[in-house]
């Protein structure tokens, strides 16, 4: 196929269309390939994000595509954040391995929460954080997770308008009105 603009747009539409057709079920267990993270890095990051916005009656960070959001933003907007993410994830796992002898994803929910609370205050042992600042890492992950979950879906997160639905913001969008139709 000749690589011209029209074909390119066609391909985009095809891709976009198929994403829209995917059933709105959990994607957990399937491996998504990311541009900025290895599968293991993505698992660890997902677990951290899930702590920040956990699943309850409503899907949490993982199922709403927050990791996808972060991956996308690093790729298209903030390449300078990639290093911080990689170093932060590595530091988390290096700490977990030394203390629990397993990675962050294998920790119990409560141990994960405790770890992040300590990290937020900057009180994890500094020896694992020689490259990245633990507080800065936490601050950025928290902020990006909130953006991904509560921002507009076209940025890669907030899948199926999940946060809008949760907050009772009626949807879907009525074009030209910048607001949502009645339920």
């Amino acid at each position: 196929m000749k690589y011209n603009r029209r074909n390119f747009i066609k391909q985009c539409i095809a891709l976009y269309g198929s994403t829209l057709l995917l059933p709105a079920c959990s994607t957990r267990g399937k491996t998504q390939t990311y541009r900025s993270f290895s599968p293991l890095q993505a698992d660890c990051l997902g677990a951290i994000c899930e702590q920040i916005i956990p699943t309850d009656e409503y899907p949490g960070a993982i199922d709403s595509g927050v990791v996808n959001y972060i991956d996308r933003q690093i790729y298209i907007r903030f390449p300078e954040l990639k290093e911080l993410y990689h170093e932060g994830i590595q530091a988390v796992n290096s700490y977990c391995t030394s203390v629990y002898n397993k990675e962050f994803t294998a920790l119990s929910w409560d141990d994960q929460t405790q770890l992040l609370l300590t990290m937020e205050k900057g009180e994890l042992p500094e020896e694992h954080w020689e490259k990245a600042s633990q507080r800065e890492f936490f601050r950025i992950v928290r902020r990006n997770t909130m953006q991904g979950f509560y921002g507009a879906p076209h940025h890669g997160g907030n899948k199926d308008y999940i946060s809008y639905r949760m907050m009772n913001l009626n949807y879907p969008f009525i074009a030209g009105q910048n607001r949502y139709g009645e339920k």
Partner: protein
């Protein structure tokens, strides 16, 4: 008259001030070239996008500028310099600028706001002063702004409103659920609530339709063009005369002078980043408080070794913004009705002046709806900022949270300033603006005062939890309400322009934007900037034609 058949003028910046000056000159048969560093705005590019807007800029701005091309330098009190490549402290960069995406509150200052020093006396450590003009001098220009740009409101019966006997061209907006509720509370407290005057069409006006009550309005452009800015009012009028050419994507970086007190033209980078010059008989700077100061300071010559108009070192001084203060309250019922927007409907100006022990003061208004993301930071002090509780709070309390906030009048200081960072260049190689200086200690006290007043109202309203906003500390950023950097005054030693915006040392170089403001009032600034632009533009037209 110049060497051309017509008198020619250059206006730099097509925002609030620039659009109006261009129209005033073009309709007086002066040939105007209106320079704008950005493009014409469009609604569709960033619609319904909380993360890319002029209000929340986490992923960028919807109407520019591009932070990567326009770095800025922040100098902290200890002298540490930090170069930032985000669009910090800009208003916007497009035709219309802030007037495309603003909240559109349309305040007149009060007579006291023009006489701060006579009203309150000199303040130690502050450059607080009277304006060279009075409220009465500006009133006819306020009238013009309200009619030609278009304001909806009703101030009748508000004893403090200088225009209480002077109806707006459009009826006011109805109160939102929160507005109605707080209006009743305010009335019971014997305060004087009124519908906030808005630069939006409550009814069809000026050839465009009425507002559709979008949920989210501030930060974005209006999808039905019912929000009134210079881009859909005065600038089209100027173009219709055939006397105004708008040069978009053209960035002016230097003003040329003849060494004898006359400006001769400007140097600019065109849409292909080629450096060009254009000459004119009159030049008006309306690039906003930061960029006008930067342009003057970057225009060095033998005559002006420190930049034009800056022989007394006043350009860039008295930089002001506004701490937005007040209180946040949690109710045990849905105080917000999200089916109709954008919410800011109730205002009070009981606390703008004559507060015991306070210099100045500020208005309070119920705030525009926050988007879901902005709401993630609205929590009572000490609440979890993430995790299950945070998520639950988000869905349970989004519609139960009220905000009563307003801009506090600042006490200006000489050391809050915009300077040039000679060693940091923008995309075009032009030295960028640097910001230094903080706040007068009274700003913090004033913020506490206004916060406590908002808190009082929420207590009477029966809120279950209330927390104050505070503010008035830290670095002066200017932000969306940037002003004061080319103060107008009668004494050339302590001001930059005369009372008509003409730079003291110059015959034909004027300023018409937020830079002129001597003090910033306890009100959002745009209507006052528009009125100033009508005054400056009208003056130039009458003097030169």
């Amino acid at each position: 008259m110049g060497k051309n058949k017509y008198i020619t003028a250059i206006v730099v910046g097509a925002g609030a001030g620039g659009g109006i000056v261009a129209k005033e000159l073009a309709t007086s048969n002066i040939k105007v070239t209106l320079f704008e560093r950005g493009d014409w705005p469009s609604y569709d590019k960033h619609f319904n996008d909380e993360l890319i807007s002029q209000r929340v800029q986490d992923l960028g701005t919807s109407f520019g500028p591009d932070g990567k091309k326009n770095p800025r330098v922040l100098i902290s009190p200890d002298g540490k310099r930090n170069t930032v490549y985000r669009a910090v402290n800009h208003i916007a960069a497009c035709v219309g600028s802030g007037t495309v995406s603003y909240g559109a509150m349309a305040w007149r200052f009060m007579p006291e706001d023009f006489k701060m020093k006579s009203t309150y006396g000199a303040v130690e450590g502050s450059t607080l002063d009277d304006w060279p003009i009075s409220y009465e001098d500006l009133a006819p220009s306020y009238d013009k702004a309200e009619r030609e740009i278009g304001v909806a409101g009703d101030m009748s019966g508000i004893p403090f409103a200088p225009n209480k006997d002077n109806p707006y061209p459009m009826p006011p907006f109805e109160y939102s659920r929160e507005g109605e509720f707080l209006k009743n509370v305010c009335q019971n407290m014997e305060l004087h609530p009124f519908p906030v005057p808005m630069l939006r069409n409550s009814v069809p006006y000026n050839g465009r339709g009425a507002c559709i009550r979008n949920r989210y309005c501030v930060g974005t452009a209006c999808p039905v063009n019912a929000k009134n800015g210079t881009q859909n009012t005065v600038i089209p009028v100027a173009m219709q005369t055939g006397n105004c050419e708008v040069k978009t994507n053209c960035f002016v970086y230097k003003i040329h002078t003849d060494g004898k007190g006359k400006a001769t033209g400007v140097a600019y980078f065109d849409e292909n980043n080629k450096s060009k010059t254009l000459e004119a008989d009159i030049i008006v700077l309306s690039a906003s408080a930061h960029e006008t100061a930067r342009l003057l300071l970057n225009s060095k010559s033998v005559e002006f070794p420190n930049g034009i108009g800056n022989n007394n070192d006043w350009v860039g001084r008295n930089h002001q913004g506004h701490s937005y203060t007040g209180a946040v309250a949690l109710f045990d019922f849905d105080i917000l009705d999200l089916t109709t927007g954008p919410n800011t409907t109730l205002g009070i100006m009981d606390y703008n002046h004559h507060n015991k022990g306070i210099i100045g003061g500020g208005l309070l208004a119920n705030e525009f709806f926050l988007g879901p993301y902005a709401f993630t930071d609205q929590r009572p002090p000490g609440s979890p900022t993430w995790g299950k509780e945070h998520k639950k709070y988000q869905r349970e309390n989004y519609q139960r949270t009220g905000l009563l906030v307003g801009p506090i009048q600042e006490i200006p200081i000489f050391d809050a300033r915009v300077t040039i960072a000679e060693d940091v260049k923008d995309f075009w190689g032009v030295p960028v603006a640097a910001f230094s200086g903080g706040h007068h200690p009274l700003d913090k006290i004033n913020c506490q005062f206004l916060s406590s007043k908002a808190e009082e109202i929420f207590i009477k309203a029966g809120a279950v939890k209330i927390w104050r906003r505070g503010g008035g500390e830290g670095q002066q950023g200017g932000g969306q309400h940037q002003g004061g950097t080319c103060r107008m005054g009668n004494n050339p030693a302590t001001s930059v322009t005369d009372s008509f915006g003409r730079i003291h040392d110059m015959e034909n170089l004027y300023v018409a934007d937020g830079s002129l403001m001597v003090t910033n009032g306890g009100f959002n600034p745009v209507l006052t900037i528009m009125a100033l632009a009508f005054r400056v533009g009208g003056h130039i037209a009458s003097k030169w034609m």
